[in-house]
């Protein structure tokens, strides 16, 4: 297991990130946690459908995203990687719109190299392999980073996509976020393998296990993989070992299936705290800086939420948009009926 940044905030060797990167990462981590809090609150108020928090996985998600170039690389997310999406160019408002049920406002803006969240576990993996293949064929430069959980690694899609990516030697970085749970299922019921990264061998490319709560290890390992991919070396599988401190999502109650002691222990390895310790020691972070950062984050969140609230809600017509580029006569007729139907009687 690759480890660079200790729980006490000391680094093995030198930091792979610049001071600016460390501060940026820390702000993003704090933003992520604040977004978790806000969306859980909104869900409890009935204003958000279902929300799955990032809590505990910030280093894995953000450390990997920071090794990517938003102007060159693509991110293919699963569903718990919105900090990576934000860093890659998704406006915070769009993210709020996703969860607040405004699908038009949630769309990935033109030019932002991101695919939408994926609700079918593992289904994004072949898409990512295909997209990376297209980058290679078009000699476009850039890599694709795809996120998925250890649960997803049991799906056939994981296997078929990995094997194809290996054969085509496409520029793909596979980020397996092993947070030890798929809903209630612990990783030792998910697989008998001691290392999921070992699967890379069976596809003919390198695999690594990193401490997923270690920002620097994740960042450095991802950067290596990106560089390998850029230079034609093909895919890399990176298993980020982290822990889902929160619930699976707002409909879940982990007390029903896991020992609170396990969570307490995971809290000791909190990914944010170690970066905070490191940055404080380096003199690039302080309580005052943090408090200012949190103020700014709060106002960003307020703005994003308000923007979504002020948007008109999409009406009946919206469900007929983007089904096909052009509606068939039958769909035109259904649309007319639906508009009629939606009119107050």
């Amino acid at each position: 297991m690759i480890e660079l940044l200790g729980v006490d905030g000391t680094v093995r060797g030198t930091s792979p990130m610049t001071s600016k990167q460390v501060v940026d990462a820390l702000r993003l981590m704090l933003l992520s946690r604040a977004v978790d809090d806000r969306l859980i609150k909104l869900q409890r108020m009935g204003r958000v459908g279902v929300y799955g928090p990032v809590h505990g996985q910030e280093a894995a998600v953000i450390g990997s995203a920071m090794a990517l170039d938003p102007h060159r690389d693509w991110i293919v997310p699963a569903s718990r990687e919105h900090p990576a999406m934000l860093r890659h160019g998704l406006p915070l408002m769009n993210m709020f719109a996703t969860y607040m049920g405004n699908f038009d406002a949630a769309a990935i803006p033109d030019g932002v190299r991101l695919l939408p969240r994926q609700q079918a576990i593992g289904a994004q993996l072949p898409h990512a392999a295909g997209l990376a293949w297209a980058l290679k064929l078009r000699r476009a430069g850039g890599v694709v980073a795809v996120y998925f959980g250890e649960g997803a690694s049991s799906e056939g899609d994981f296997h078929e996509a990995s094997n194809l990516a290996g054969v085509m030697r496409v520029p793909l970085v596979m980020l397996l976020i092993n947070n030890h749970y798929a809903i209630s299922t612990p990783v030792h019921r998910q697989t008998a393998a001691t290392e999921l990264a070992a699967r890379a061998d069976g596809y003919g490319f390198p695999g690594f296990v990193v401490d997923g709560n270690d920002l620097f290890a994740v960042y450095a390992t991802t950067l290596d993989a990106v560089n390998r991919a850029l230079s034609g070396g093909g895919p890399t599988l990176i298993e980020c070992r982290t822990y889902r401190i929160g619930f699976h999502n707002t409909s879940d109650n982990p007390k029903e299936y896991r020992d609170p002691a396990e969570v307490d222990e995971a809290e000791q390895r909190d990914p944010i705290e170690r970066v905070r310790r490191f940055a404080t020691r380096e003199g690039i972070w302080s309580a005052a800086i943090e408090s200012a950062a949190l103020d700014e984050i709060r106002s960003q969140i307020e703005t994003a939420q308000r923007q979504v609230e002020e948007l008109p809600r999409p009406g009946a017509a919206a469900i007929f948009e983007h089904v096909y580029e052009q509606l068939s006569p039958r769909l035109e007729q259904q649309k007319a009926e639906a508009l009629d139907d939606a009119r107050p009687s």
Partner: protein, 328 residues
Amino acid sequence: MSDQPELSVLEAIREALFEEMGRDERVMVLGMDVGRLGGVFRVTRGLMERYGPERVVDTPLAEGAIVGASLGLAIGGMVPVAEVQFLGFTHQAFHQIGPQLARYRFRSRGRFSAQVTIRAPFGGGTRTPEFHPDAIEAQFVQAPGVKIVCPAFPDDAKGLLLEAIRDPDPVLYLEPQRLYRSIRGPVPPGDHTVPFGSSRLVREGKDVLLVAWSAAVHLCLEAAGLLAQDGVEASVLDLRTLVPLDVAGLIAAVEQSGKVVVVHEAPLTGGFGAEIVATIQQEAFGSLDAPIRRVAARDTPYPPGSMEDYFLPSVRRIVAAARATVEY
């Protein structure tokens, strides 16, 4: 009747599982999160404590393996009741259902049968995310060898599940998630089965027949209530099983009024409603006094939960279709 306990649909399903696992030690339950957690809807809560982790098994996240292994388990003498977390995710197991589970008896010329039940919640109305509400039952109709069962009431939920588990052939047992906890009704205690291929007339009326299954039956009942206020008497037929289809029961009900509306939660085009229409017009052409109308979801992908009302069939649309049919 009155001394039967009132259960929710969810409780009725759970009761059937508890009872049948007690009765037949070959019965086992497998699926994602069905053990320790009791399933994402807690349908299987308590089963693992009662019957142990060998017979109530949390599987890895792989629908194809859950279904495919269930076939192997059945061949090996077990009676698996597999849960797929949501019917929309049977897509991932599709190649193991129609082409494998459904055909294994045929392929082996009766040497092996697949006594497997696949339970899966489905249907809209709960504002759940993409895939979770997909009503894709019609996609399995073209897979001869499998049976498709969709209860709408607690008593049928129990009776059809017991029938499904005991059926020597594979059964897709579709659970109406929006009804899980929202309706209660009397459920016969102990051994209670409902035969497949028998529809149930849940309301009688002389003017028009509403045909539906699963949660849509309740939309029809609500619509029938509204229609009655206007003097239109509607029958409501709950098909209960799509395969086998109770053609005789369907035709008998059609002949009462000669006017029919079919209602389903799946998109209109190619939904099972089309088969109902085709069957009726073949078998009861002379009795039809008006074109059969279909009230269904729109021919679009399932939208986000917050917009599903624009997509799904509504009571209002059923009432309008019934009126237009009666007035034809």
